[in-house]
Amino acid sequence: MMGRWPLVLAVLVAIVLAGVPWFGNDVAVQFGINALLLATLAQSWNILGGFTGYVSFGNSVFYGLGTYGTAVAMTHFNLPFGVGLVVGAVVAMLCAALVGIPILRLRGPYFAIATLGLNGAMAAIVSNLPIAGSNIGLVLPLMRGDAIFYELALALLVVCTLTVLWISSSRYGMALVAIREDEDAAGSMGVNATLYKVTALVLSALFTAIAGGIHAYWSTFVDPASAFDTTLNVRMVIMCVFGGPGTVFGPVVGSFILSAVYEVLASEISTAAVLFFGLVIVLAVVFTPKGLTDLMAGARRSGWRYLFRNIRENRL
C-alpha cells in the first residue's frame, strides 16, 4: 500500500516540528498551534469523509462540544485540564452517536444535509444554557506556556495520524473503503455499514473534541460564536479534500499548506481568505478530486494531462 519513505519522512518531520518551541519565536509557535489543531481537525474529518465518502459539514459541533466540555468542567467543577478534555470528548462522542445512529442508517446526501443544520441547532442550545455561560461565554483559568500547548497539539496530531495509519491498513479501514466504493457489495460481504459509519463518526468526534479542548484552555475563553464557528467546517473539509481524502498524510500536508496561505491572506483581507478556500474546493473537485498526493503520483505518470483526466471521465 504505502512505501517506507513516506513513513520515514513523516517521523523526521514530526521530530523537527517537536523542536520548534526551542528554536522558533513566539509567532511561529502560535501559528504552529493553530496549524496543528486544524490539521488534526482535517485528519479527523478524513476518518469519516475520506474513508467512507460520507461528508460531514457539521464537525465543528464536536469541536464546540469539546471546548465547552473542557471549559465547563474546569470553571464550574474545578477539575484538572486532563479530566476536562475527557469530559469534552465524551460529550462530543455521545452527540456523534445520537446524531449518527438515526441518520447514518440512510445512504446518500441525507447525512451531509443534516450536519448542515446541526451546528446552528447546537449553538442555539448552548447559548441558552446558563451553565455554559449562555451568550456571554466562559473564562478559563489562565495558563501561560505556548510551548506546552504546542507539544500537546503536535502529540494529538501524531496520535490521530497514527490512528488513520492503522485504519488504512486494517480490516476496519477496508470495510470503510468498501462502504465508500459500493455499499451494497460491502453489505453482502457482511459489513454492518451503519455500525462502521457510526464508529467512524464517533472516532472523528473524539479527536475533534480534544482539539477543541486544547484550543479552549490555550485561548482561555469560549463563547458560542467562536466555538461553533461554521468557517471551521469549511476549513477542515477543504484542507482534507485538497490534501487527499482517504489517504494518511494528505490531510496533514493539505492543511499545513493551506494554513500558511490562509495566514498570509488573512493578514491582508479576511474575506478574501475564506473566498480563496471556496475557490480551492471548487477547483480541487474539478481537477484533483483525489488530492495533492494523487496529483504528485499522477503528474509523474501523465504530466499536465492528469489535470483533465477527471473532467474527461465525469463530464456530460
Binding site: G49, G53, V55, F57, V99, P102, I103, R105, L106, G108, P109, Y110, A112, I113, A114, L116, G117, L118, G120, A121, A123, A124, I125, S127, N128, T230, V234, V237, I238, V241, T271, V274, L275, F277, G278, L279, V280, I281, V282, A284, V285, V286, P289, N310, I311, E313, N314, R315, L316
Partner: protein
C-alpha cells in the same frame, strides 16, 4: 383564534418555503445534484430584486420577473460551464463542489453587498386586510399567491410542453433521451437555470418579509432539503404542500418554544423526517 392566526401565518409562510424548495427538488430529481448552494442562490436572487427595486424604483413583484431572467442566466452558465464537468462523478464530489460554490457566493455577496441587513420595502409593505376575523398580511398573501402560480407554471412546463417532456425523459433515461435528439448538456443547463430562476423568485419574496444578509444561505438550503424530502421530487404541488407543512410546524414551534429555538426545531424536524420517511424513493419517476 390565536391558534387560527398562527396557522394562517404558517400556511402563508409555507407557500414561500415551498417555492424555495421547488428549484432544489427539480435539480435534485433531474440532475441528481443535491445543490448545497441553493440557499446561497436564493440569497443572491433576493439581492438582485433588492437592487433593481432600489435603483430603478420598479415594483418588487415586477422586479422579481426581471430577477428570474437574470438568475436563469446565472444558473445556466454555472451548470454549463462548471457543474457539467463533474456531473457524472460520485455524489461526494457534487456535494463538495456545490458546498464550495456556497462559500464563494456567500463571501462574494458579503464583499459586494456588505453584511448589513436589507429589506425590500415597497410603500404597501404594511398593508393588510381581514377575512373571517383573521388578519391577512397583504405582502405575505401576495407571496403565497406568487409561489402557487410559479408551482403551477412549473407543472404546466413539465407536463404540457415539449421542453418538460425532454426534461422528464432525461431524468428517466439519459441515454435514451440522447438517442431521441436531446442534447443533455444544454438540457441540464436549462434545468439548472429554471431551478435557479425559481430560487431567485423565492429570494425576492423572502426579502420582502424578512431580512436579507449574505449568511442566510445555509439554513435555507437545509430547509429546502427537508421540504424536498417531504414533498418528493416529481410534483411541484406536493413540494408546495411540503413547504406548508414546514411553515405550520415552524409557526407552532415559535409559539410554544420561542424564536431562539427555531434552528433547533428545524433541525429536529429534519431528523424526524429522515427517521420516519427514509425509504421514500426520491428519484423522479
Amino acid at each position: 383564534m390565536v391558534l387560527a392566526q398562527i396557522l394562517l401565518n404558517g400556511i402563508l409562510l409555507g407557500g414561500l418555503y415551498g417555492l424555495m424548495a421547488l428549484g432544489m427538488a427539480l435539480v435534485w430529481g433531474v440532475l441528481n445534484i443535491v445543490n448545497l448552494a441553493h440557499g446561497a442562490l436564493i440569497m443572491l436572487g433576493g439581492y438582485v430584486v433588492y437592487y433593481i427595486f432600489v435603483f430603478t424604483g420598479l415594483d418588487p413583484f415586477a422586479a422579481i420577473a426581471v430577477a428570474m431572467v437574470i438568475m436563469f442566466g446565472v444558473g445556466f452558465l454555472l451548470q454549463y460551464g462548471l457543474l457539467n464537468l463533474i456531473v457524472r462523478s460520485a455524489l461526494l464530489n457534487t456535494l463538495l463542489i456545490t458546498f464550495g460554490l456556497d462559500v464563494v457566493i456567500t463571501y462574494l455577496a458579503q464583499f459586494l453587498f456588505t453584511a448589513d441587513f436589507r429589506t425590500i420595502n415597497p410603500s404597501y409593505a404594511g398593508a393588510n386586510f381581514s377575512a373571517f376575523g383573521l388578519t391577512v398580511p397583504g405582502i405575505r398573501f401576495a407571496a403565497f399567491v406568487v409561489a402557487i402560480a410559479l408551482a403551477a407554471a412549473l407543472w404546466w412546463l413539465l407536463n404540457r410542453r415539449p421542453l418538460g417532456l425532454a426534461i422528464r425523459a432525461t431524468s428517466q433515461n439519459l441515454v435514451a433521451a440522447r438517442l431521441y435528439g436531446v442534447d443533455p448538456r444544454i438540457l441540464y443547463a436549462v434545468t439548472f437555470g429554471i431551478g435557479t430562476a425559481l430560487a431567485g423568485a423565492a429570494g425576492g419574496l423572502y426579502g420582502m418579509i424578512a431580512n436579507l444578509t449574505p449568511y442566510i444561505g445555509a439554513s435555507l438550503t437545509a430547509k429546502s432539503f427537508v421540504i424536498a424530502i417531504i414533498g418528493g421530487l416529481t410534483n411541484p404541488f406536493n413540494v408546495i404542500l411540503g413547504g406548508i407543512v414546514v411553515g405550520i410546524a415552524e409557526s407552532l414551534a415559535t409559539l410554544y418554544f420561542g424564536a431562539t429555538y427555531s434552528d433547533v426545531v428545524s433541525f429536529g424536524l429534519l431528523v424526524l423526517v429522515l427517521v420516519v420517511r427514509p425509504t421514500r424513493t426520491l428519484r423522479a419517476a
